[in-house]
């Protein structure tokens, strides 16, 4: 017996170590980002890095101001949210409340398949189909701009928002719906006043994770947002989000040079942004108890 017990203990410890792979990877990522990114502050002040308007990493002397890049990221996320949140939520409501079970069985896989589209394909589509279309329809100097990027990013966040919201809505117990209807409310009123508020925690999480995904997306914005590192004055201006900057410039920054460190610093900022998003989502889901969570 004691032999078996000891073996069990070892096995349990091994599994614990293996399970920590996740946390170790995360820590390793954070570590490398900060170690490689921190040296930038030897040459550039913190203020000029975060608030500097100009990103000219290869001129002499270089300028490493990421304000335009951050605004670029935020602007495309904002555009994509404006499209993806209504679209995703409406579809989720449709799937959870209005669709017949057969309809649901067909529609749910379709939404999940949309999530499977590789980002480079969506970026390609935006580049060769949407950009010329935008350019001709609105007589723009270029179709590669914040609007295009935001629309394409919505492609990527809608499935996340829709799936998670739909799960949250579906988990609300039927007894709540029946009680509301018995009190004389229409189906719509039940949805708006009972089901949605009950699942607000799950929906909030869904939206935030969808936005986080949009912020972290690289290929789509690389191919479609235009690449101009400046603060946009209109939806039709080109922008250069942080992800695109890293992807575009990483290959040319010699290891250990200031450009290299600057790009890692941008990566660290990105990491912090998405980390913050995730923390907020986690806090929401714990703070505001999802009604019917027991069945989730």
């Amino acid at each position: 017996m004691p032999g078996r017990q000891a073996k069990e203990k070892i096995i349990r410890r091994t599994f614990f170590v293996l399970a920590s792979a996740g946390i170790l990877t995360l820590l390793a990522i954070a570590l490398f980002l900060f170690i490689e990114g921190f040296p930038i502050f030897r040459g550039t002040s913190v203020q000029s890095f975060f608030l500097g308007l100009y990103w000219y990493p290869t001129s002499d002397p270089p300028d490493f101001g990421i304000l335009a890049l951050m605004v670029g990221s935020l602007s495309v996320v904002a555009v994509s949210a404006a499209v993806a949140v209504p679209l995703g939520l409406a579809t989720a409501v449709y799937l959870a409340e209005i669709a017949s079970p057969r309809m649901r069985e067909i529609a749910k896989p379709v939404v999940e398949l949309l999530a499977a589209l590789p980002s480079v394909v969506i970026g390609f589509f935006g580049m060769v189909v949407v950009a010329p279309f935008l350019q001709q329809t609105f007589d723009l100097p270029t179709g590669l701009n914040a609007l295009n990027a935001g629309l394409m990013l919505a492609f990527m966040s809608v499935p996340t928002i829709c799936s998670l919201s739909e799960d949250a809505l579906y988990a609300v117990p039927n007894s709540l719906r029946e009680a509301s209807l018995a009190l004389g409310a229409t189906h719509l009123e039940t949805i708006v006043r009972v089901v949605l508020p009950a699942s607000i925690s799950g929906i909030g999480t869904a939206v935030i994770l969808g936005l986080s995904r949009a912020m972290g997306e690289t290929m789509v914005v690389l191919m479609v947002a235009g690449g101009a590192a400046m603060i946009p004055e209109s939806l039709f201006d080109s922008v250069r989000p942080m992800t695109a900057t890293i992807a575009a410039e990483m290959a040319e920054a010699p290891v250990g040079g200031s450009h290299y460190h600057a790009l890692f610093a941008v990566g660290a900022v990105l990491f912090l942004f998405t980390f913050a998003f995730n923390l907020v989502a986690d806090w929401i889901s714990h703070r505001f108890r999802q009604v019917g969570e027991a069945s989730l």
Binding site: T142, L144, G227, A229, R240, A251, E252, P254
Partner: protein, 268 residues
């Protein structure tokens, strides 16, 4: 079962002997058409050699030489002093080989009526001082200035010879390659861009600079103001497969003929 097959497959990949002839080439998108033609032809003549080719910008190639991650770096500009310093610090001594000549031609869409631009006008357009085509003799429309991103050797030469080291306005679109610029200008009637000679094609209209059109003759004669040699850098003096390849490139019957086929100006 499935996983066992996979494991065996992976292990068999691990057990491979080292390759006799292997070459890595990285760098300029301008030199890329040349490098690609030569790579294909070279591999046909010497089938035992495996060559891996990338083209994402001269800066990438030079960085790879500094870091030691490539055998040959294509570059459309000469190596900077700061880069030489970094290379030497890491024990790499970059050796330049001029493999072709090139000139950078400003291009517009064939629908654009403008027929000449001076060097000063080009500079003012790219610094953002001139914003409308009517200021340089065209229609009343905003100029869409298209530039290359910072890893580009083409960009560096443009910065040196046209911008005279002044910064390109952030409103200019930064594209990743000659090919991308060509495509953007060809599809936008109000765009202005610049590409290497080898990228000039029917869907673009080249603009003379100061009255001189960029071409093989004007480049070799030195009269065209924006011309430059194209380079291949090696890490230290080349030996083995690297040396064979470089000799192939410089060979007037082999490499240089392919330079001409790619649309650039051969050395001889």
């Amino acid at each position: 079962m499935k996983r066992m097959i996979l494991a065996i497959a992976v292990l068999s990949l691990l057990a491979a002997p080292a390759l006799a002839g292997q070459l890595t080439i990285k760098g300029s998108t301008t030199v890329l058409p040349i490098a690609q033609e030569i790579t294909e032809s070279y591999m046909k003549e010497f089938p035992g050699v495996a060559i891996s080719l990338s083209g994402s910008g001269s800066g990438d190639g030079i960085k790879a030489i500094i870091d030691g991650t490539t055998d040959i770096a294509d570059s459309s500009r000469f190596i900077k002093d700061s880069e030489v310093k970094m290379a030497v610090e890491k024990g790499a001594y970059p050796v330049p080989f001029a493999v072709a000549y090139d000139c950078i031609v400003p291009v517009v869409n064939p629908k654009n009526g403008v027929s000449n631009l001076t060097l000063a006008q080009l500079k003012d357009i790219y610094t953002g001082k001139i914003r409308n085509w009517k200021e340089v003799g065209g229609t009343d429309k905003k100029i869409v200035a298209i530039s290359r991103d910072t890893s580009s050797g083409t960009f560096e030469v443009w910065e040196e010879k046209v911008m005279k080291k002044e910064r390109v306005t952030p409103a200019a679109q930064m594209l990743a390659s000659n090919g991308a610029v060509a495509q953007a200008v060809a599809s936008n009637p109000y765009a202005l861009g610049y590409v290497g000679l080898g990228y000039l094609n029917k869907s673009l209209k080249g603009i003379p600079v100061n009255g001189i059109m960029g071409s093989e003759q004007t480049t070799l004669a030195g009269t065209y103001p924006i011309s430059r040699p194209l380079f291949m850098f090696t890490r230290g003096w080349p030996t083995g497969t690297t040396a064979d390849f470089i000799n192939y490139v410089l060979n007037p019957e082999k490499g240089q003929k392919l330079v001409k086929k790619a649309g650039f100006v051969p050395l001889y």
